[in-house]
Symmetry: C2
Subunit: 386 residues, 2 copies
């Protein structure tokens, strides 16, 4: 329950990085069955500025989203600008080669845009090159100004590349920053209408993950995020170790993850909330989910295909348009292509999570998982680029 409505879990959270779910109106998003939207603290802080959003009456009013709203901590963006900058490390590491990553990490031609000390993070704006310094208190202040229903404690996200020594040091910072975020938040009247989630870190280490979950579980957070940059194989254990310890009574949000197979794995291991840019980012490049796997609608085979993207889908796009028309829109570089494909992909994912919720209720989750993945993985060789 939030001041802007209830969230039924498990739930997929749509991402509206800069205060808009790309290519969609908020009414489109609501019609898809989306319950929550997440905007990025880092992006809104730099542009248009959290104080402007506060003056506009808060983010709900500014972006015309009446439902529950989250903002992240900014920690992941700091990671993207620091350790991960220019190395193609995102939420999921695709080919894990420590030697290669280590070599790149020492490459002086790939400077970091951010540097971390025990008090906070200094970074250079990717927009205008201006310098900024964010502490846990500053992250809270920004998120108070933005005014989302759920906000996150400031954290440090580490890379699978980082040494054990560094992972432990960083986790210590994340925990001290969690304490400082919570203390600042509790001291303000915003704490009455904004829920604060702590973020579990600890990389791929069982010890650190459990230590982190244990440390944060004892604190008065309203819910928890599970953070990190993963290899696919690491993700399950990291979630499992965290959720074994985190209190079941509080929502657990797997940050930045949301491919169909990950959603099943996460729900199976106790995750309540997911967010991910993949459905909309893929959509803008023509990558579409179907029951039988991903397709890329820009392929020649779809030019004369007068079927919907997925004949079992109930979305606006599938009930009104053909693959042929969408293929035409991409060739013609029309913006409607991005809109129609984002609608489909988000509805596909939201509807899948709806089915999981229903299946949990009827105790048929594993049947659903088996049935879905069997059909879905048929076309895995045709996987669309993300």
């Amino acid at each position: 329950m939030t001041p802007h409505g209830e969230i039924k879990t498990p739930a997929f959270v749509t991402v509206g990085t800069k205060g808009t779910v790309k290519a969609l109106t908020p009414e489109h998003v609501a019609t898809l069955g989306a319950q929550v939207t997440l905007a990025n603290t880092y992006h809104l802080y730099l542009q248009p500025g959290d104080e402007l959003v506060r003056d506009a009456g808060g983010l709900h009013k500014f972006m015309n989203w009446q439902g529950p709203l989250m903002t992240d901590s900014g920690g992941f963006q700091v990671f993207s600008l620091g350790t991960a900058y220019g190395k193609g490390i995102g939420k999921i590491l695709k080919t894990y080669d420590p030697q290669l990553l280590l070599a790149e990490s020492n490459d002086p031609d790939k400077p970091k845009l951010a540097s971390i000390d025990n008090d906070g993070v200094s970074f250079k704006s990717h927009i205008d090159g201006s310098m900024h310094y964010i502490t846990p208190e500053k992250s809270m202040e920004i998120q108070h100004n933005l005014g989302a229903d759920i906000i996150f404690a400031f954290d440090e996200c580490t890379s699978p590349l980082d040494s054990n020594y560094y992972q432990r040091e960083a986790l210590g910072r994340t925990h001290r920053w969690a304490e400082r975020s919570l203390a600042y938040h509790k001291g303000k009247e915003n704490s009455e209408r904004q829920a604060l989630f702590g973020i579990v870190q600890g990389g791929r280490s069982e010890d650190l993950r459990k230590e982190s979950a244990d440390f944060l579980a004892k604190m008065d957070f309203d819910g928890y995020g599970i953070g990190g940059s993963f290899e696919k194989a690491d993700m399950t254990t990291a979630i499992l170790w965290s959720n074994e310890i985190l209190p079941e009574s509080k929502p657990r949000h797997l940050l930045g993850i949301g491919e169909p197979e990950d959603l099943f794995m996460g729900v199976e291991n106790g995750v309540d909330l997911f967010d991910c840019v993949a459905p909309t980012r893929m959509a803008r490049n023509g990558g579409l989910y179907t029951e039988t796997g991903k397709i890329n609608i820009t392929n020649a085979e779809f030019v004369h295909d007068f079927n919907p993207i997925d004949s079992s889908c109930d979305c606006y796009t599938c009930t009104h348009y053909t693959r042929s028309y969408i293929s035409h829109l991409f060739k013609a570089k029309e913006m409607l292509a991005a809109t129609l494909c984002s609608i489909h992909n988000l509805r596909f994912i939201i509807s899948l999570v709806d089915k999981m919720r229903e299946a949990i209720h009827h105790d048929t989750f594993f049947e659903l998982k088996e049935k879905f993945l069997k059909t879905y993985n048929k076309k895995s060789a045709l996987a669309a680029p993300q």
Copy 2:
């Protein structure tokens, strides 16, 4: 009355060049009060191809537009690729300097992509460089395949730069092509569900305009287009000369024109239908209509402006968003900027034409015109780029 609904005139026709009104869903367009949409024959012929659209069940079904639909003749695009290519000559000539234009016209570095003979037009595709030849019969065949409710006879649009000799020669072609278009159309069963409009040409010459109107008025067309590339000063007389002769009982469409002041002038001189890309093209660049003139929302003065674009406007954008938010969307390069601004500009124009229709009914058209233009022209110095 068309097979897809009635059109109350005067009406502004929204433009969906490639089978989509840019940045909007058809539902957005319908909600704006748009009665008719016009798609471009030339563009759809090249991509995705008129035969594909026919196989998809026609353009209404392909693009999911349930209301009345028009396709133009392709004549204006031929003009853009031929005489006008690379010279910045559009529907309205801004600075008329015959010497300069003549010099450019003879510049061998600015080759034409189209050439005209008495039988039709050969041109090179701007997409893939392939060669094509369109005759009046071919234009009809394409428009039959597309299947719009209102289609146009193939014509030749001339430039203010062309000599009197050439204007007369071109007008002769337009008239022979009108006869051939009509003959081909009447011989097909499509003539029962597609209305055919003839296009009056004749440039800035009173003799030619009247000759053209007279020639076409005697033919069995369902309505008329008034074509040409104009100087602002020429437009009124060209319309007046045409409409003095064209039958009042048939709709008259001023092709490609639709700025507020032109709409008043056109309606005053008997025009029933207008279409224009300006409202949506301007919108995508941040140029917005307001009661007190055009503004450009990307200007710094709007960053902290928490008012709607136009406080008297009833559109979705003005009732849900501030100038500040839209300014942010442009800076953040978010697609929603184009969507929200297109919604506003189209609603502004459609609502203005609605008011004109109402005012004609109450015999208060001139009061409306005077009142509107007095306020609207206040900010003319701030006119946004088109």
